[in-house]
Symmetry: C2
Amino acid sequence: MINETYRTMLGKKSVIRELSELATRMAAEADPRHPLEILDYSLGNPSVPVPPQVNERAVWHLTQGEPAKVHGYSPTLGIPEVKEKLAASLARRFGIPYTAADIFPTSGAAGALAHAFRLVTQPGDEILTFAPYFPEYGPYILPTGCTLTVVPADTKAFQIDFEALEAALNPRVQAVLINTPNNPSGAVYSEETLQTLAALLERREREFGHDIWLISDEPYREIVFDGKTQPYPAAYWPRTLTCYSFSKSLSMPGDRIGYVAVNPECGCSAELVAMCGQISRGIGHNCPTALMQLVAADCCDLTSDLSVYETNMNLLYDCLTGLGLEVVRPGGTFYMMPRAPEADANAFSRKALRHRLVLVPCDTFALPGYFRIAYCTDTEKVKRSLAAFRELMREEYGVQ
Amino acid sequence: MINETYRTMLGKKSVIRELSELATRMAAEADPRHPLEILDYSLGNPSVPVPPQVNERAVWHLTQGEPAKVHGYSPTLGIPEVKEKLAASLARRFGIPYTAADIFPTSGAAGALAHAFRLVTQPGDEILTFAPYFPEYGPYILPTGCTLTVVPADTKAFQIDFEALEAALNPRVQAVLINTPNNPSGAVYSEETLQTLAALLERREREFGHDIWLISDEPYREIVFDGKTQPYPAAYWPRTLTCYSFSKSLSMPGDRIGYVAVNPECGCSAELVAMCGQISRGIGHNCPTALMQLVAADCCDLTSDLSVYETNMNLLYDCLTGLGLEVVRPGGTFYMMPRAPEADANAFSRKALRHRLVLVPCDTFALPGYFRIAYCTDTEKVKRSLAAFRELMREEYGVQ
């Protein structure tokens, strides 16, 4: 019989997808003499090109590389020299003595998280994360048999509400999942946040008599504004599984390449990486493509020109705060999450659509009353959208 | 806590891997003045190059293609024109009216099977397969919560022992998993086998009052000998999920590209493909690389020069049968599975190692007393190995 769980999931339409479809329909139905420019801020798809080296290295491997290495099976735990290069880069940048044995290449951050969740939980355990959060975490965790508990947001700064975390951190919790820089808020966890988190985890480990793992989802690690960098979470907690993807730093989400890096200071890193190979068998993962492993290793110290995201952020932040909206200024990513000017962000989002703006209400990110702007789009379009924001606030909310 | 299920799996070493490590050690320990040539028939890694078009098309997409298509997110259900090309090729070759809506691109056959198992079962159901079988099916199925039941082998021809199948086919069975051409036996299911199987499934569906799905794992579909072709299983049974990989036909296992093709005659194909998108979220799959989707679609009607496998098979078959071994002549793949000349194939395998031959005992393929030869190696090496086989049979078993 057809599986009922997955069939039922079909019924639940994604708000983001519905909005995006609605916007497409609006554009299609517009009078062709007056084409309608839809200002679509719904999808988090990187908009800048890959650095030229990505294509150069890919072409090099295809034409000059060793064919058996490019097209043959990758070892289950990843290509050794790829793991070495990734480990060396992380060690140099973040001062943790990673070696190849600590790295498990995966198909993007989704693949990395699928392994990390299964590594340190058993069915029935609890994984904590923080509002607002990437809504895919729900379906990612569902088949592991664990429950995802969401700690209420710190809406002042989108750091961590430690009182709320203390209340939620019970003995069933085996892992705490963080995502910094954060989708959807754009917040960058500070050194202080990570230190306080580590101190709390250490206290609770002693109290509960078991390890608590930190699963750190970091695909936006390299997109940080104002010349700052993201403090590296694993540097604050030995039992950290760092889940990374090159999707955003190299603008190559379609190439599905990332990794789990196990902090060697946890003391069982080789065992955990070997277990990743076992988990892979059961979820049909079986290594990311060999070619993309090789390319990512060659390019892991590069990024695309990510400056456009900061330019866009500043334009939008200044405009929206100028219109009286409450916005926590993002420290990174290509998202921001203002508070909607009315309690129902869905109603606000429908009104925004009348002004050609596609803005996602944050109910599914566990923060009703807020909306997400994904400003991974070109700056000229952002500039054109500012008038639409002003029009929206004026006509719908009387803001002059 | 670290997951116990996966930690325990680490203890179970693969026989294939142990043998391969032993052989490597033998070679390393040999007197360097008399290097030892290990005749390694253990691993099923394609040995012929990709067709030149694979690299040409990959380079074209990287340098001339639309960057957002090559490096951007692929739609969850796969790139539409890729799905169209794959569907058109299957429709033309096998006479089933596949359209894009019936195709779900996956990361190889492992990815395809991970989706297929979850599509048509619920935890607690039973999946049937046939000895001898690819031992990875066990760990592939384990986390679905289903049990894998193995129907005893038809050792005469490695087709299906229908009496044994009739006995095993109980109402808990929701799917029957076949693999033709077969790893490890090299058997190619005949038209008669597939017709008889379909007739039996039809009878049992009526009796049980529920559907029974055929999951057809076909990575060796294009490697068939004597100018024949593999009758297409889905053509015999409407409720067939065809799981394919380009790993063997195009010699690109490291590129992780394949698909699930749902027979549109099942009547719920679009729903099943949409459900694949939901399953993906929970197992971290999230599409194979966009580049490899595009390349596979361009090259899906090509194959590598696969003739070396038939040449190797004939050399080995003639030699081994000449030495009195019982061998079912393979119809395809790059495997054959002779009966060992003593009841304990592990003991035989250890004796073979003394003669530099790495041969895998088939206990883990659910057929004790047999061994597997993976002859995806170059023909000159196969020729050199024939003397070693003769020596093995003469010195260990007195065959002159």
